[in-house]
Each structure stands twice: as structure tokens, then as C-alpha cells.
């Protein structure tokens, strides 16, 4: 350790110059600060190799396996098995990505963003900077969405390539359907990622948040959706509301089995987003750091 004071103080002049770039000298731009904070949260997520690898595996792996198996089946018996790509492959693969594995990847990313600082023990150091706790929470959401968007986009690109490359002369989706499919995948992933950030912050425990959210999304929701006697009481299910925006028919175990208007579906999505971001923000603001 150096006892010389110059090392830190010498950089202060440079620091003040940097501050001036964002606005008036000595008054740093809030936009610049917000951008830095989101960038810092993106840095934490993208350097978390376990999360990046597993969320990529979850989003991409099933698609790769799906197309390989379907291609092999089609190659072995073209009369019995349809082509891996084309409309049929597009329908099945988009269900895999948007309603099943994409949201799973989003849960991993969102929970890490929401609970990662507490788990690593650095939340108290962030609070001790004097920065508002709400600002600390708010910067996690766009960071998680950016990472989830990146992984969804890469996965959807693979889906699109395989849909056309493995069509074997069958009908393929037009550009509008492909765009709608992308929008649907992004919507599904980003809504779940946002909910996961809020729930991760609320629980302040990665294992607990992952268990509850995955259990809800993979087990509880499909079971509840399948219980027809519940009738319209199933409308608040997140997966059902998301499935309502699918450009293709997605009825079945993983959403789309409960009929509701677009307005109702939008209201359900908004409710989930508002409730869980509010709960996450409240917990971040009030918890002992």
C-alpha cells in the first residue's frame, strides 16, 4: 500500500473533466449515471459464466436437439415424418422457445440480476455509496432484459435458419409471420425476465427464487391451466396471458388453453409486471443491507 496521497488525488482533475462531458461540470448527467449503472449490471451478468452458459444451453439446446431429431426422422422416412423446418417445424420450435425454454432461460437471468448483489454480499457496499436503493433496483431490470434479449435473438436466429434450411421444399413462414414470431418470443422472454428480477429481489435468495419460479412456470401453471373446471379463474396465469399473443396456435399443456381477449391478456401481463417489480423495489428499499 502506498502512503502517497497523489495517486488518487491526481486523477481528480481528470475525473472532473469526465464529469463535465455528461453535463455541467460538477453536475453529472443522470442519464450518464443511469447508463453506467445499467452497464455495470450487464457486466455482472455477462461475466457470470454459469448463468450465461446455462441460459444459452436452455434456450438453444432444445432447438438444436429438436431440429436434429426431426431432420434425422425425416431423412429416415420422409413419408411418415414431415421436414424438420417449414411451417410444421416453425410451429413446434416456436412453442419450445417462447413458451418453454426461453422463459426458463429468462428466469435464470432475471433471478441472478435480482438477487446477485445480495448473494455476493456487495449490496451493502452499493447502498453505502449513497445511491438510492430504488435506482439500484431499477438498473437491474434493463440489464436483465438486454441479456435475455440477446439470448432470445440468437436462439430465434437459429430457429429461423433451421426453419428455412430444413424445409425440404415444404411451405415456409412468410416474413410477417417470422417477425411476429420473433416479437412473440421476445415478449414472452422479457416479461418472464422482468418478473424474475422482481421476484429475485423480493426473495433475496437465488435458490429460493429459482425453485419457486421454475416450479410455478413448469409445473403449477400447466396443471392449473389444464383444470378446465377452474374456468376463467385461470386467466391470471402468466403463461396463458403470454400465449394469447402467439402468432400461431399454441393450445396445449404449455399455454394457450384459456381463451381471453387481448385486452384481458394485456391487463394480466401488466399486473404481473407491476406487482413483481413493485414488490422487488419495495424489498430492495426496505431490507437490511
Amino acid at each position: 500500500m502506498s502512503t502517497e496521497p497523489s495517486a488518487v488525488q491526481a486523477t481528480d482533475q481528470q475525473a472532473r473533466r469526465s464529469a463535465g462531458r455528461g453535463g455541467a461540470p460538477g453536475r453529472p448527467s443522470y442519464v450518464a449515471v443511469a447508463a453506467q449503472m445499467v452497464g455495470a449490471d450487464v457486466l455482472k451478468l455477462r461475466k457470470k459464466l454459469g448463468i450465461m452458459i446455462w441460459s444459452s444451453v436452455l434456450a438453444l439446446g432444445p432447438l438444436v436437439i429438436f431440429f436434429i431429431v426431426r431432420a434425422a426422422q425425416h431423412a429416415s422416412n420422409a413419408a411418415k415424418y414431415p421436414p424438420a423446418g417449414g411451417m410444421s417445424g416453425f410451429h413446434d420450435s416456436i412453442r419450445l422457445l417462447a413458451l418453454f425454454f426461453g422463459p426458463l432461460a429468462a428466469i435464470l437471468i432475471g433471478v441472478e440480476a435480482g438477487a446477485g448483489d445480495v448473494a455476493a454480499g456487495v449490496f451493502r457496499d452499493l447502498v453505502a455509496t449513497g445511491r438510492s436503493r430504488l435506482a439500484l433496483f431499477a438498473s437491474r431490470v434493463p440489464a436483465a432484459l438486454l441479456i435475455a434479449l440477446l439470448i432470445t435473438t440468437i436462439s430465434y436466429a437459429l430457429l429461423a435458419i433451421c426453419t428455412y434450411a430444413l424445409a425440404s421444399g415444404s411451405a415456409t413462414p412468410d416474413a410477417t409471420l417470422m417477425l411476429n414470431g420473433y416479437g412473440f418470443s421476445v415478449l414472452a422472454t422479457l416479461v418472464v425476465a422482468t418478473v424474475a428480477v422482481g421476484f429475485g429481489a423480493l426473495s433475496a435468495s437465488r435458490p429460493a427464487a429459482l425453485t419457486v419460479l421454475i416450479g410455478w412456470q413448469l409445473v403449477a401453471s400447466p396443471i392449473l391451466a389444464a383444470v378446465s373446471s377452474l374456468g376463467s379463474a385461470r386467466k391470471p396465469l402468466l403463461s396463458e396471458a403470454i400465449a394469447n399473443f402467439s402468432p400461431i396456435a399454441v393450445g396445449g399443456a404449455h399455454g394457450g388453453s384459456v381463451a381471453m381477449s387481448e385486452g384481458t391478456a394485456l391487463a394480466v401481463l401488466a399486473l404481473w409486471l407491476v406487482v413483481f417489480t413493485a414488490l422487488g423495489a419495495w424489498r430492495t428499499r426496505t431490507m437490511d443491507a
Binding site: 500500500m1 464529469a19 453506467q36 455482472k44 461475466k47 455476493a120 451493502r124 447502498v127
Partner: protein, 350 residues
Amino acid sequence: MTPMSQQPPIEQGAAGAPRALAIETRALTKRFGERTAINGVDLRVPAGSAFGFLGPNGAGKTTMIRMLLGLTQADSGTMALLGRPLPAQRAAALAQVGAIVEEPRFHPQLSGEENLRIIAAARGAQVRARIGGALERVGLAARGDEKVKRYSLGMRQRLGVARCLLADPKLLILDEPTNGLDPGGIQEFRQMIRAMVEEEGRTVFLSSHLLDEVEKICDAAAIVDRGRVVAQGPIAELAAGASRQELIIGVDDQALALRALQASALVADVRSEEGALRVALSGDPSCAAALNAELVRAGVGVMRLEPVRQSLEQRFLEVVSGLRAPEQGGAHEVRAAEGLQRCEDGGAGR
């Protein structure tokens, strides 16, 4: 909590000159259920000094620091950092404060430099430019791009100090900062703290259970036990304030001197030790002159009269153990006060 005055608090310095307070708390209290962790603490930390916050494990040191930093809420009382009341002006106050709370923690998957970028982002747009200087200051410039999971505990402590320096802080709050440092690192750390105080005018609030560390680094200290500040002031005054003031007295006739001392109201205790007498005074050290006069009047030839130097450790153990045995400690304090009064009356308590 009632709001504290927004006027910067002022304290009289040693020369009577007004001196601002870096930390001020009044009747600060924190409870965890039935247990009171901090109990009506009044703390006054002068700006531009190194201040030790001493106490045994579980005394409430870390809870106090957590309240000052807004990591947990106080149940009652008021507090201010650098003249700014908390929590009303928390953001403005903490913008000038750097802190290490307990063991420094980092994102292990990030490098040292990246971890500092995370904090710099929260501190403001201009702070990032200080990262290089902060790493250099703590001797980690060459290893700043290494992942923190490969750092030793000592390196993490250094990185924790670098994280504090990002704020260019007027006040550093350090909780057990030398944990994990090797002897060389501890020595460098002490020098760095002194340089921060003496050359840069920063205030350092250092919580520790290591008496030696506080005595060597700090100008003043507070002793906390069971959530209460039981003593505070400059280190020398704290140590000298030990209620058990002792003298070593060399005499020509030990038996005669022993009888005279045992009869004296100025003496709390006397015993023979290595050819001399070790005398515990019931008053302050100024009683030594009166005691000398008593011995001379009793016909004892006094060849040596030497005060026993009090250490912070003695004072600490006395205060803390005094609280643990309130009846004994309380009796001791009363007796000391009585002795002081007798001295002020000219040693004429007989």
C-alpha cells in the same frame, strides 16, 4: 427519529478552537426484537482525526456502522455524518464517505478493476477516472485485471480500501480493516491511515477489537460494550483515565511505610513488590505529592516515587469488565471519585 439540526456540529478543539464533527450521534438506539444492540449512544468524532471504535466481539460496533451507513435503520435517536443529518441527507453525506463493513465482499467472477467499476457506476459518472489511482494507492495496480476469486484475503482488504478511495472520501469508516493482512501489510496500512489523516485531512473511523491497533493508529477512541459507549476521548486521556492510578514507591523502611500507607485515605490498595511498594491511589495522580508529604511526616525516607504508565488495554479491560460486574465496577468508580474529592480538599481527608 427526530431530525438533527442542519448546522454543522462544532466541538472545542484541544486549543479551544472550534472543530467540526465528522460523526455525531445522540441517544442512538437499535433493537433486534427484545435485544438492544445499541443503547442510547452519544458519539462525537472530530473531523480530521483517526478515531477508534473499540469493543469486544458482539459489543455493537458493526451495528453502529451499519446504522451510520444506512444499511439498517435506527429505532430512535439522531445521527449526522459530516454535518449532514441522516437519513434526511443520506445521499449527500455518503457521497463523501468510503466504508468497509465487516469482511470486504466482491463479485468473484469479476476482476478487481471491474469490481471497482461497479461501485464507480453507482457513485457517479466522474468516479471511474479514479479507479487506476485507487488501485495504485493500495498496491494492486499490477493485479487489477485478475479475478477477485483468486485474491487472498489480504488482497481483498486492499481492494476494499481502494473501493473506499473511489469516493475521494472526507470520512472513511473501516470495520476491522486489518483482518487478513500480514504484519507488513498491517504496518503499511497504519502508515496509510496516518497519511490520510495528517497529509490529506481525512477523518478515519476505525472499528476494532484490537487495542494495540487502535492505540497505534488513532488519536481518539470510544469504548463500546453491550451497545453502550462507556468511555470516549483522546487515547492518552482514555488511558490515563483509568480509575486505578498506581505508583511505585521506594522507601528506606518498608514496614513503617506500609503502616502509613494503609492508614492513608489517599490509598486504595498497597502491596510490596520487588523491593518497592506498589500503591493504588484512590484519587487522581496529583495525590502523589500529598501522599509523599504524608510519608515524610510519618518519618519515612522516600527514595523513589514513579507513576505506573496506564495503557489503553488496562483502561479497556477495566471498563469492560467493570460493566460485566456492575457492583464491583460501580463501587470502584465511586471510590475513585471520593478519592479525587479528598485530593481537591488538599489531601486532608484524614
